[in-house]
Amino acid sequence: MFFNSLHFALFLPIVFLLFWFGFSKTKTVQNAFLLLVSYIFYSFWDWHFLFLLLFSTFLVYYTGIKIQDNVSAKSKSLWFWLSIILNVGFLGIFKYYDFFSVSFSNVLLNFGFKVSPITLKWILPVGISFYTFHGLSYSIDVYKSRIKAERNFIDYALFVSYFPLLVAGPIERATHLLPQVKTKRVFNFQQAKEGIFMIVWGLVKKVVIADTCATYANAIFDHYQSMNSLSLALGAVFFAFQIYGDFSGYSDMAIGISKLFGIELLRNFNYPYFSRDIAEFWRRWHISLSSWFRDYVYIPLGGSKGSKLKQVRNVFVIFLLSGFWHGANWTYIAWGFLNALYFLPLLLQNKNRSNIETITLKLNFDSFKTVFHILVTFTITCFAWIFFRANSIAAAFDYIKLLLTNGVFEWQYLANRRYNYEIIMLIILFIVVEWNTRTKQEPISGKQSMLKLIICIASLLAIGTYSDYKEFIYFQF
């Protein structure tokens, strides 16, 4: 059941009304109801995997209590590592086992040993990367005594399985979400109104921007061998907006839906394509994952402290892990590696935190420089997206080679029966809207909100893509 499906359009109002009119008396009733709803929501994907979710939830819940209750450091450590190994083990088996098996047999083949890889070919349970990371951060926080272990199973289970974030994040922290879960929510009109606006804007990003860009990006990437340089360059740009609209649209909807139930989720995107350097991009893109890696991997490894060599190592570790988190494919690892390379000059010059303040533009040279930096950052980001989107590393290199050598910059008719330029106006319009709202979370609230809401509805109806239905990209991760 996707957020942009008709089923969900029926599911959400029913759950909302039942929650506030039937199950909002106490915090326990609220949480029990939301937990049940979350499991029903998850069962729509594949009820078999509900048992895996339940097992993972119980495992982390139980080991969390054991970590806290045990006095000796050795026992704490034992429970902690048990939780980590089992959680990562599940993720590893479902998501990475086949990849390692095939890669290992390929390595052996290079040394002259022909071995048939033993693969499981299991379906990846929806949301496993997200709920595993919830569990991991919780275990680490309990082990490091940043939070106390949660003893109420329903509260803890809701933290892991809360339906708006269950299948594609944002990746929440126990420190942020659990205190909200443990308090009885009272209906707040302003919060719910913001929620509606975020859901509508998220839908616009998904249906109008992402799915429309997808038809063009797919037509170019799937037939890249017959594309000219202009189409190939545009293909990368279209994919950049596809993945941004898709994932940030989903996140906006998740945040909006959660607001309807009185729970605030972490912001996941902050206009990343207006970043002035790659470090800023990573502070604005998939914030919940970047900050997760920063807090639980980068900083424990030493972060930006220690020798330059160590810092460089740490940067590569988190970017490669981030790439690998997205999927068991060398293309994602290459994408992570490329971003680490982009980051390196900033790190070596200690400039990785130089663009913190909000962007303001005036008619002067500094503003011109800012725009130039934004364009450069966007260009290198698009270049990296080629690896993310390509089916293989070889295909990505082929794509880039053609892009750089073809030399033809003419409008081209694509396999989706459209010219490659037809969507450019829509993207420009989207950029203008985003630029004008870069200090807020969405553009609808504020003055003339009803008019803006009607414009969004009209754009959803008139220029959304419905016949070429696309799933959310991040569901596969």
């Binding site: 009803m450 959304g464 419905y466």
Partner: protein, 293 residues
């Protein structure tokens, strides 16, 4: 909460209102467009008197050259539509009669399309803008599962078939940008393609006593229209060629012209003649059925 429910109701009201307004705008634009497709041309064009109207799928669209008919003094138009099934062909014929077209002879290509009674999504979409303006279209769709959604929910049909009748098509209709569907009096010539697929397998196809074909026969009979139903050529490397024998066995009135043009050099793909093949085929058809004209 009251305030919020009011906001939701207001949003929903705006949604319905916007959908209604958009539906009206789109429909009005499609009601005044006649240069983008055959359905639009029939619905919005002037009623015409034809000696011959060609109907069928792409195997009619790409196989019959109206210019050769016209040379014989027969006013002809090729209304064959790529992707269409007999479901839409029957509807188009009914629509033509509803719009007061006068037709003496119908040359119907019905061979592979006899094997199913389904509708084609893409072709269906072209009729949907007129669902409230034509009783023929409304009646034809009445038994379809989605009829109520198309008919009663404003803008649903434009949303569902956005790639056929959505914003892009509406905009191009609005600016009057013509397509090539109506060039050459509806005939679409295909080039010879190097490396084209020159094999096919029809072993799993079986002709039916197709209800839409029967409907076409009845309409023609009721309106004094001469109906000539034919099969058209396919390439040599076909498995299950006996399909065409099954067609004539089930429908003895259908003329099997599958063999009328032979040689893969006359084909663009296995099921479609190239321009040269279409000219040869049309000339032979003229000799067979319109010798005296």
């Amino acid at each position: 909460m009251k305030q919020f429910l009011f906001l939701v109701a207001k949003t929903f009201f705006f949604l319905v209102l916007t959908a209604g307004c958009l539906d009206m705008i789109y429909t009005q634009i499609y009601l005044s467009s006649s240069n983008r497709g055959k359905v639009e041309a029939v619905f919005n064009g002037k009623p015409t008197q034809y000696d011959v109207v060609i109907l069928g799928t792409s195997r009619a669209n790409n196989h019959f050259v109206p210019e050769l008919f016209e040379k014989k003094g027969l006013k002809t138009f090729n209304y064959g539509m790529s992707g269409s099934h007999l479901f839409e062909t029957a509807m188009l014929l009914e629509l033509m009669l509803e719009r007061n077209y006068k037709i003496k002879t119908i040359l119907l290509e019905a061979d592979l399309s006899l094997s199913n009674e389904k509708r084609d999504e893409g072709t269906t979409a072209r009729y949907l803008p007129y669902i409230h303006h034509s009783s023929v279209i409304a009646n034809h769709f009445k038994t379809e599962k989605e009829f109520s959604l198309w008919y009663y929910i404003p803008f649903y049909r434009y949303l569902k078939y956005d790639s056929q009748i959505g914003f892009r098509e509406m905009f191009e209709s609005f600016i009057g940008k013509p397509t090539n569907h109506l060039n050459h009096k509806g005939y679409y010539p295909l080039p010879s393609k190097k490396g084209a697929n020159m094999k096919n397998d029809y072993r799993r196809l079986n002709p039916l006593k197709n209800k839409y074909y029967e409907q076409i026969k009845q309409i023609c009979k009721a309106n004094n229209i001469q109906l000539i139903t034919v099969t058209t050529p396919v390439c040599e490397n076909v498995k299950g060629m006996d399909y065409f024998d099954k067609v004539t066995k089930l429908h003895p009135e259908i003329h099997n012209l599958e063999n009328l043009v032979q040689g893969d050099n006359y084909f663009s793909s296995c099921g479609h003649l190239n321009d040269k093949g279409a000219h040869l085929f049309t000339q032979k058809v003229l000799l067979l059925f319109f010798k005296d004209k």
